[in-house]
Symmetry: C2
Subunit: 221 residues, 2 copies
């Protein structure tokens, strides 16, 4: 079923049945993703795409980095930006090479960012960023001091122009190919932790938390 897009330029063009625009779908993808890809245009017209971490709080998306970060400084001037989050869910293995695909969920956000300058607001969002990556950890670690807060550039981008694109399910082969004697289906892929690696400088008296081995980034079953 096709949903209506918030703007013509966020409407999914190729395979529009894969498009989604509802808040619940968009937020779930943004909240699961650890990495986003930020696209902007340099003065000479060259697009640049750089990976970074994001956090969604309410109806806003936040990016952060060093105060000297060139990309964030460019974005803070209000130039057009695109932030894309992609979750790879599996390989779609068809009987024909042409029909191979991937199952994925992605979100594209268009807009213009601005800097968050209020100190209390910056602290709140930076805590949310730690929580986004590792729930429960923001209360365990030392929070940002004034110097660190000043050294951090935090940008906010509204989520009012965004779209999701999703592919799920088995391969779709040509009718004649279903008789071929080749395995077809989906190989689901998930991001899973290996055993935690202790900082060599960590005191032997600090135990490794058991929940690290259970860390997951995936939708609830």
């Amino acid at each position: 079923m096709e949903q209506s897009a918030p703007s013509a330029r966020t409407k999914v063009q190729r395979l529009p049945h894969r498009g989604a625009y509802d808040q619940e779908t968009l937020w779930a993808i943004l909240d699961e993703g650890l990495v986003c890809h930020v696209g902007f245009v340099t003065d000479d017209g060259q697009p640049l795409v750089l990976p970074t971490t994001h956090v969604r709080v309410g109806e806003q998306l936040y990016l952060h980095g060093a105060a000297a970060n060139r990309m964030l400084n460019t974005l803070s001037t209000g130039v057009a930006v695109c932030v894309t989050v992609t979750l790879l869910d599996g390989l779609v293995l068809a009987r024909a090479a042409f029909k191979h695909s991937m199952n994925y969920r992605s979100v594209v956000v268009l807009g213009r960012a601005k800097a968050v300058t209020d100190a209390a607001e910056k602290r709140r969002i930076l805590s949310a960023l730690v929580e986004h990556v590792m729930p429960g950890r923001s209360s365990q670690v030392r929070g940002a001091n004034d110097k660190e807060l000043a050294a951090t550039l935090l940008l906010v981008l509204p989520l009012n122009e965004a779209s999701a694109k999703i592919r799920r399910g088995p391969p779709v082969d040509d009718p004649l190919d279903y008789g071929l004697d080749v395995w077809a289906g989906e190989l689901p892929l998930r991001l899973r932790p290996l055993p935690p690696v202790r900082d060599p400088k960590l005191s032997a008296s600090v135990d490794t938390p058991e929940q690290l081995a259970r860390y997951r980034r995936e939708p609830s079953p």
Copy 2:
């Protein structure tokens, strides 16, 4: 040790010690990645970042899609493009919120793409694309027929302007924070398969290949 960049605009600006420009490093990241993020600029100056699949063959990077794909058609006109591949290797958990980070390997490729029109060359690269995703599979499945070949737009991008950025290792905390009683270290993350899901239309006589459960995307140890 800092390496020399192929161009000023590919030189890693933030934390230049994380930059790498040698072919072996670049190729390994491109070859491991299943998804790339392609950045280009629309007529009205809006950057767009869309995920797709790539394959490197020799010193060239290839993108493909439906002949009607709007992004690929725009790119085929030779506009400036940026292709970024990011591999997330782990979460870097520090004692201070400010010092949290991620271990990753990323490659940024700048350039201009053009369409590959030679049919034999298209077949060769599309086979390489299947091999990139699932080694050994291209010889097992039905290859592209003339109609499918004509319905595929294949683009090539030289790899002569590219850079890698890499973070590895434990967190780096402030000296005073090493005494804090909080676990610190790295939580390595890997893309791992769940049990394969058979296509519901797959004949019961076709066994699930055992190697699917051993599928890995990660550097050799």
